[in-house]
Amino acid sequence: MIKLIVPAFLCMALVINTAAVYSESAEPTEQLKPILDELFSILDDQSLQGDEQKEARRQRIMAAISSGFDFREMSRRVLGSTWNDLSAEQRDHFVVQMTKLLENVYIGRLESYDGREVEFAAERIKGKRAQVTTLINYEDSKIPVHYIMQKEHDRWMVYDINIEGVSLIRNYMEQFRTILRQEEYEGLINIIEQKNQLFAEGKEGN
């Protein structure tokens, strides 16, 4: 009996311990790093190169980063108060289109970027929000890319990317404001859909 209890106890201790270690080490950088590593390993995957593999590659990338990038939150922030006026279906539809746009822009940019080395340089935590600074080598210089995150159910989720002081979400937010003022939500969603269509047809580069 004792022979059984000891290993059982050890197993339990191990389980509890791993759980404790996991939540303790779940800092922004530690959560973001495996996601970006996986993203770059998919981009490097020889079997997924080229335009004909674009769909498969994008699908795997989006699946990989969805555990660390909150596209719904990005969509909500980018729309601002207009989000509150939308119905549930409209919101879901907007999230799908906005996610597609960000995928085309962000992943499309990474696909054309040769360097694969991401250096994790710094981390700031302020209440429920955090900022992870990575450095990307471009030619002879290092370009800082900051991932802005917030804690949601014990996970740090990226909701903005900031490059040299330029916030991706705020940039879209400002563009959307101008469009919303003139053409309302219907006009905006049409413009986004058209843009995604251009990306899908390969008319906006990859």
């Binding site: 922030r77 980018v78 601002g80 108060s81 509150n84 085309n104 822009v105 499309g108 940019r109 340089a121 710094a122 981390e123 700031r124 935590i125 302020k126 209440g127 429920k128 929000r129 955090a130 900022q131 600074t133 471009y138 030619e139 002879d140 210089s141 800082p144 900051h146 802005i148 917030q150 903005d160 900031n162 040299e164 002081g165 330029v166 916030s167 979400i169 705020r170 940039n171 879209y172 937010m173 400002e174 563009q175 959307f176 101008t178 469009i179 413009i191 986004i192 843009k195 906006e204 580069g205």
Partner: protein, 292 residues
């Protein structure tokens, strides 16, 4: 043609300058500034170490896009704690938007019809190595701009680095053609311009301007641009305006040929390229001016 361009440019800026005094705004105070705990600001800075900003990079957390209009989100518990962080950045002043948009369209055509073909022909004639060497040399000759501006900003350490790089690259780098300071000594360049200096002195950016051929700017940075020209050594040495302008054009084309296609990238990713460029320019300039 070049003279014409300059006249058009000056003609455009001049009326804008007179409007500057009325429309001048205070600089983007508080963005990126360190937080302090206070009754109005109950969220203490939980940073690991907020003193060493070089290691941590700029503080962008106060710069939340949602802070633009916090009242709209009061019913939203997720953002409640964000309201009390930094004040929202001042809105961009763009009273000349209709004119700016026309110039933006002109610049777009200018880019695709003139600049890009010129750049492509230039890149075809000169191999990349040579263009990079020339780029290094142009940057090295312009070192006085960065040196003086770093001094004016009180960045004496950076001024020293600029001087050190200039000495190393002018000698070991053979007239600045090679960046020996970076390759052999790992000393990275330090940028500084007069528009940034004016910003650090507390001078507001003024209305946003889209300059023909030069792209996004504002009243302050346009002044800064002319200030930088005065700090450039070439006009003092050459005494020949045609040569100076030729030098400027060659410098620009060379820089364009060794830089990533920022403009095409911007067009590719945006729904309203004019607003995207304006926001990106203002955010970038504010970030390098507010950097501690």
């Amino acid at each position: 043609m070049r003279t014409l361009l300059l006249i058009v440019l000056l003609g455009f800026i001049w009326p804008a300058l007179s409007a500057a005094s009325e429309l001048d705004r205070s600089p983007a105070a508080g963005i990126g500034a360190e937080l302090e705990t206070s009754p109005e600001n109950p969220y203490p800075d939980l940073l690991i170490d907020s003193k060493d900003t070089n290691i941590l990079g700029p503080d962008l957390l106060g710069n939340d896009p949602f802070l633009m209009d916090p009242v709209e989100y009061l019913d939203d518990p997720i953002f409640e704690d964000d309201f009390t962080l930094n004040p929202s950045p001042p809105p961009i002043s763009d009273p000349f938007e209709p004119v700016n948009r026309v110039i933006f369209v002109f610049n777009d055509k200018f880019y695709f019809w003139v600049l890009k073909p010129t750049k492509n022909a230039y890149s075809y004639v000169l191999p990349e190595d040579i263009r990079r060497c020339l780029g290094n040399a142009f940057a090295n000759i312009a070192a006085p701009i960065r040196f003086i501006n770093n001094l004016l900003q009180g960045e004496f350490e950076d001024a020293g680095i600029v001087l050190g790089r200039f000495v190393i690259n002018s000698t070991l780098g053979v007239f600045g053609l090679g960046d020996a300071a970076y390759r052999d000594f790992n000393i990275e360049p330090r940028k500084a311009d007069f528009g940034q200096t004016l910003g650090k002195w507390g001078i507001g950016e003024g209305p946003y301007l889209m300059l023909p051929a030069f792209g996004p700017s504002n009243i302050r940075d346009t002044f800064g641009f002319f200030g930088d020209i005065y700090m450039h050594p070439v006009p003092y040495i050459s005494d020949n305006l045609t040569f100076d302008l030729g030098y400027l054009v060659e410098n620009r084309i060379n820089l364009l040929s060794i830089s990533p296609d920022v403009y095409e990238e911007l067009k590719r990713m945006s729904l309203d390229p004019y607003v995207a460029a304006r926001q990106a320019y203002v955010d970038y300039r504010r970030s390098i001016i507010d950097k501690p």
